[in-house]
């Protein structure tokens, strides 16, 4: 499985809790990121088209009639894809934490050794 782009990951994240329409996804990501990330409409439209082709999201059946306000939800595959990427990112963060903390411990050891050698 290919790593998801950051924007694609955010769209899947926005849909994990509830189905949303296009602009609702933009608003949800904006809300989650405290206003830092505002997905542009062209970027979102392309992602929604791709995710539908890959069957990672689907239209909520009852809303298929309304052409303007299509509501999207995650499919089971979409959920799996999201969790897969989540695990991958988490693993990278854990490794990073280990290395960064390890470096700190190493610095502490050195400081203690320096104290004793004085």
């Amino acid at each position: 499985m290919q790593p998801l782009s950051e924007s694609t990951f955010l769209v899947l994240l926005a849909l994990t809790k509830e189905p949303l329409h296009g602009y609702g996804i933009i608003k949800k990501i904006e809300e989650y990121s405290g206003g830092d990330i505002v997905l542009a409409p062209g970027t979102l439209y392309g992602i929604l088209t791709n995710l539908q082709k890959q069957k990672l999201i689907e239209l909520v059946t009852a809303e298929k009639e309304s052409r303007q306000k299509k509501i999207y939800r995650l499919t089971d595959d979409g959920q799996t894809s999201f969790l897969h990427e989540y695990d991958r990112l988490k693993k990278m963060l854990t490794i990073s934490d280990d290395i960064l903390e390890g470096a700190k411990k190493h610095e502490n050891v050195q400081e203690v050794q320096n104290l004793f050698s004085e």
Binding site: G22, V38, T43, G46, Q68, K69, K70
Partner: protein
């Protein structure tokens, strides 16, 4: 309100320059409100200033609704796929219709596909010219025109591929 039109030829691969030009015109108080082949219609109002954006996309109602909600006013659509949008500069700030390089690359890729299909159709349509070659003035004139168009298309393809490469590189840095 005073209106006027301006004639300008712009190739599809120079969409970003076209956007920039329309935005600069708007900053001077001349706002494009209509487009006909090679002709831009402006209206004058020094109190407003817009950011213009051009998109290439197969659209539907949902597409226009999404752009509208995100603050983009639809100005015009050319050839069913080139969509002109604008938004007041003071409201939209530095937001644009695309927020990552991957989606811009995808747009140029769609454009490349679109023109490739037109190009192939044109080649097929003009194949008769060579098959029934008779070296009359008319045939030579036609061949000259067709050759010029082919060169123009090849130039367009190269420029579109360069654009795709540029945004693809940017997306790998991110």
């Amino acid at each position: 309100m005073k209106t006027f039109k301006k004639f300008k030829i712009s190739l599809a691969n120079d969409m970003d320059k076209e956007e920039q030009w329309l935005t600069e015109m708007s900053a001077k108080g001349y706002h494009c409100y209509k487009y006909r082949p090679f002709t831009y219609y402006f209206e004058e109002d020094p109190t407003r200033s817009y950011v213009y954006q051009v998109d290439f996309q197969s659209s539907n109602d949902e597409y226009f609704e999404l752009y509208k909600q995100a603050g983009w006013e639809h100005v015009h659509t050319a050839m069913e796929s080139f969509h002109y949008f604008r938004a007041p500069k003071d409201v939209i700030g530095d937001k644009r219709i695309y927020s990552d390089p991957t989606s811009i690359k995808n747009m140029y890729q769609r454009m490349l596909m679109f023109y490739s299909i037109i190009f192939i159709c044109m080649l097929v349509a003009q194949a008769g010219l060579l098959l029934n070659w008779d070296a009359t003035f008319f045939s030579i004139l036609s061949l000259t025109i067709v050759s010029a168009v082919i060169i123009l298309y090849i130039y367009l393809f190269i420029r579109l591929l360069q654009k795709m490469k540029k945004y693809d590189k940017q997306s790998h840095i991110n």
